[in-house]
Amino acid sequence: MIGAGWRDRIGPPSILLGSALILTAAIPAATAVVSRPSPGPVAACPGSPAKAARAAQRDGVQAKDVGVRAEARITSRGELTGRILRLDQSDEPAISISLPAESFVSERTGDAVVYTRSGDGSGSEVHIVNVETGCDTIVASPAQIVRSAILDRSGSAVYVHSVTRAGRGDAGVERHDLSSGAVTTAVPPLAPSAVTGRIFATELRWSTDGRALTVQSCGFASCLSRVLDVASGVVATIDGRGQGALIATTSHHLVAFAPCPGLPCSVIAFDIESGAGELIAEDALDARIDTRSAGGNVLYITTADGKLEVGL
């Protein structure tokens, strides 16, 4: 698994903990543009996808100041037609990538950003772009509609969540090995569940120790999470009705809001092994985890009465 040295290279792991951004656009994939207004188009990517991914991560050592923004494109009538992935570099012209409505952009990992795009009736693409060099590589081309994707911490595989083209049912999460191109099912498709009802969104999030991938599927009111232990392939399911938006997953707990319609909201820690939930705080207005604390993970919770620190 991932050691401290790796974390030093890509920066604080907490950058991985925020919510991933879902991108949208209406333009077909074929018309997408990856452009650097000047001096020219994005640089060619040397070597294999795995090499490109690892190169992107290595570049993170330099920690150059490249802003990554995903901007919504909304018409004057208020319709979301797409998003622009913009890489703003301090000393070079910005790179902008037009994406369709059915697209996704991950948070930055080192210098790597994963983005996906799907067009009507055609396949999907999963890209890794090196935000420093602009090198943009297609690392997977699933037939289904890709909803999101996330790079593992070693840069050796990308995990891709899709829905079916027919009916947009959950198609599970596949692991795409960047060296061999092998595709395996990491987390199987989610059957319709009384807990969640119709699935509105699925989120992929690495645990704070990088050893587990949480796949949280949410209906209109509540969520169900499956936690994949990457080493063993074992999937633990946490499907109690008391689960809302994911905050973080540690080695033993899944921390989430209660299934509230907004904030304030209770914060609950679920034991990954037993699924039992424990109330951590009520009426939280914000909750974030910090993995940099010397004593381990610290959950910072903000309420109307002040801040609360909880060691996890």
């Binding site: 208020g78 509105f200 699925t202 949410c218 969520c223 938006a245 904030l263 304030p264 009426d283 207005l285």
Partner: protein, 348 residues
């Protein structure tokens, strides 16, 4: 804020008031919508558009309509909602919502501010694309009604939570369903709070006014008192004023509503011969300017027993009540009864 704060309503004391208490019975059907957190202690909540995330015209119209819906349909002493470019609250049209799966999202920070986020038209979700009905000239099936969703979010701002669907007997009892319906399913375009939403808001904020209808989602006992002026011994042929006081049972589990006066209701004065058993409706009592008070003045020439009767409308959640009995005797100087009291003597 409409009307005075019901907690500050006072009821005048009347000598000789006799109370009849009807106990609260548990309500059948959908319970009042759950709620939590402190309530707003202000008459008005103003919202603005969040800079950079301003809604399009059609969505603004739906938001304003929802604000009006909320203002008029809570039946409670809740703050009204209105647009103000400098308002402390804000509404955003954005895909940047803390929960990936919500189409609307509310943040409530009583007493300082609130925020509502609404996802843009065309936003892709796992199951498909979000469509707002108001975006279309001819809304397709499966679209969400923006006015309803905004009203729902305003419900959250007012502290309402989601209803437990296992307790719902009629979908239209509430708009606070975790999963609102899309066109053209039942309740897809409700533009007012459901009766059980209003019930909870009344329990938390009080009724909008003493004459406001009490939600039929509640089942509250009432107290009805009756007093006589100038007293219970009346000179033959003189005027007797009977005053009734109607209020929500102070001992009922009615939260902030307990003890509140009830105006504008139908309160009847009944009478029967002294010692009789059958009551007859004599006259409907008139409403007084004082909250919860009703009166009737009679010219009295015969002894009778009187009581007041409140018959609750089926459209509201109040129980019937009758007052205790007041016996009125006639003080006739010409004839004395064996018990020392005067009795009527038309030929004195």
């Amino acid at each position: 804020m409409s009307g005075a704060n019901p907690t500050r309503w006072t009821a005048a004391a009347i000598a000789g008031v006799l109370l009849s208490i009807t106990l609260v019975a548990p309500a059948a059907g959908t319970p009042p919508t759950p709620a939590s957190g402190p309530v707003w202690d202000t008459g008005q909540l103003r919202y603005r558009w969040l800079s950079g995330s301003e809604p399009p015209t059609w969505m603004r119209s739906a938001i304003h309509a929802a604000a009006q819906d909320a203002t008029v349909s809570t039946l409670a002493d809740t703050p009204s909602f209105s647009y103000d470019g400098g308002g402390a609250g804000w509404i955003a049209y954005t895909g940047d919502i803390p929960t990936d799966y919500a189409v609307g999202y509310a943040v409530r920070n009583v007493p300082s501010s609130f925020g509502i986020r609404l996802r843009p038209q065309g936003y892709p979700l796992d199951w498909g694309t979000l469509r707002w009905c108001q975006f279309y000239d001819s809304p397709p099936s499966g679209c969400f009604d923006a006015e309803l969703i905004t009203l729902h979010e305003i419900g959250h701002v007012l502290t309402l939570g989601h209803i437990d669907e296992s307790t719902v007997t009629d979908w239209n009892d509430t708009i606070m369903h975790a999963a609102p319906k899309t066109k053209a399913k039942t309740g897809w375009n409700a533009h007012e709070f459901g009766r059980c939403d209003a019930a909870r808001l009344q329990l938390r904020y009080g009724a909008a006014s003493p004459s406001e209808r009490i939600s039929s989602c509640l089942d509250l006992g009432t107290d009805l008192g009756l007093s006589a002026s100038p007293g219970t011994f009346i000179d033959y042929g003189s005027n007797l004023t009977l005053s009734a006081s109607l209020r929500i049972d102070a001992d009922s589990p009615a939260d902030i509503l307990a003890g509140d006066p009830l105006s504008g209701r139908s309160v009847w004065l009944q009478r029967r011969p002294v010692g009789g058993s059958a009551w007859t409706d004599l006259v409907q009592m008139s409403s007084s300017a004082e909250a919860g008070r009703y009166f009737r003045t009679l010219n009295v020439t015969s002894p009778f027993e009187y009581r007041a009767r409140f018959s609750a409308s089926s459209s509201e959640g109040l129980d019937d009540a009758t007052s205790s009995v007041i016996r009125i005797s006639i003080d006739d100087p010409c004839v004395s009864s064996s018990d020392g009291h005067s009795i009527n003597s038309p030929i004195c």
